[in-house]
């Protein structure tokens, strides 16, 4: 049990510092470790908790709480799961937040610095590519077929071209899934 908790803490503490562009950028790596590396959950369970974390309030990074919960559940039942969720959350948030705190102190003094300009401009395309990779990996993990791809395309158009509340769109897609259309 302790072994699992140490694995959780180690994995998320390192992913925390790699999560450039937000938590979504490390989802492919998280998926690889949680499903294939440690066998904490199945492919489709990972896709399910992704949907839950996207819909729930708060930072989207809280998918790690669910991964930690799932990992803890396999070794310690519900109490073990709650401990796993807390460990994963703290491990994911504290390292990156500490770094942010330190950099905040320096950032304001560096308005004209070349490194600041280079980082601001250069990392944007890279980050968008990583987020795009996330979309693909999630789609595959959820075992989507052409009907699900179509639903994704329609929902994407709605998000891009309208100001619809994402919760309503996700809910509507859930209803469509309930009736077995996708």
């Amino acid at each position: 049990m302790i072994h699992t908790y140490l694995q959780l803490a180690g994995l998320f503490a390192s992913l925390s510092l790699l999560s450039i562009g937000g938590g979504n950028a490390v989802l492919p790596e998280m998926h690889l470790q949680a499903v294939r590396g440690h066998h904490w959950m199945t492919d489709s369970q990972f896709a399910d908790i992704f949907s839950i974390s996207q819909t729930a309030p708060g930072p989207s990074i809280l998918i790690v709480t669910l991964v930690g919960y799932g990992a803890g559940l396999t070794v310690g039942g519900v109490p073990g799961a709650i401990i796993g969720g807390v460990i994963a959350t703290v491990a994911m948030i504290v390292p990156a937040a500490s770094l942010m705190y330190v950099v905040t102190l320096f950032w304001k003094k560096a308005q004209e610095a070349k490194w600041r300009i280079a980082v601001e401009k250069g990392f944007a395309p890279l980050t968008v590519g990583l987020i795009m990779a996330t979309s693909l990996v999630m789609s595959r993990a959820a075992d989507h077929d052409w009907r699900a791809y179509l639903l994704t395309a329609i929902c994407t158009a709605i998000f891009v071209f309208t100001k619809a509340n994402p919760l309503i769109v996700v809910g509507a897609a859930g209803v469509i899934g309930y009736f077995g259309v996708v």
Partner: protein, 187 residues
């Protein structure tokens, strides 16, 4: 010019935590960044507009969730280190409790076909939410051949080839910095 007036005094740690709790809970279904701006810049006037934008950029570049980093930025501006901790706790505490409850019900009832169906449908929309972010941010930064190549490299190596992220960053990040480094333009 409101960034000059927003002083680091007067705001209590409890108010910081409560404000970020409010921002987090209002964002049910997404849009946390938009809510952050609405509350921090418009309502509370803790951050100026430009200050908020540069904080957003910094949050996006540094590791960590954007919203978590904004909380650290605003919290440390208002009350230093204790303020950053208060803002973080306010942002995360209730959402963690809510998501734990959701996790309990999910892992208990996940084998029910109806639950699987709902989540399968919802996952299509969740992917769409991520894709929409790609399109919205991509429109702003993919404005030439080199940035498009950097974008494609990151996508192909991490998404298609499934190379580990550290390796992908080791390859693509230096190229990105070389491309974006400001050069002296000959007059």
């Amino acid at each position: 010019m409101s960034e000059v007036e927003a002083g680091p005094d007067k705001v209590s740690l409890l108010e910081l935590a409560w404000t970020f709790n409010h921002i987090a809970l209002a964002s049910f279904g997404g849009g946390l960044s938009a809510w952050s701006r609405e509350v921090l810049v418009v309502e509370k006037e803790w951050l100026g507009e430009a200050e908020f934008l540069s904080a957003m950029t910094m949050s996006r570049i540094l590791p960590g969730a954007n919203q978590v980093n904004i909380a650290v930025f605003a919290g440390s501006k208002m009350r230093g280190f204790p303020g950053a901790v208060a803002a973080l706790l306010g942002l995360c505490l209730m959402p963690v409790v809510i998501i734990m409850v959701a996790a309990y019900f999910y892992f208990r009832f996940k084998e029910i076909p109806a639950v699987k169906g709902v989540l399968h449908g919802a996952s299509a929309a969740a992917v769409a939410l991520t894709l929409a972010m790609v399109i919205q941010t991509g429109r702003k930064c993919l404005t030439g051949l080199v940035p498009v190549l950097l974008f494609v490299a990151a996508f192909v190596l991490n998404g298609l080839a499934r190379w580990p992220l550290p390796l992908v960053l080791l390859i693509v990040a230096p190229l990105s910095l070389v491309w974006a480094w400001p050069r002296e333009r000959p007059a």
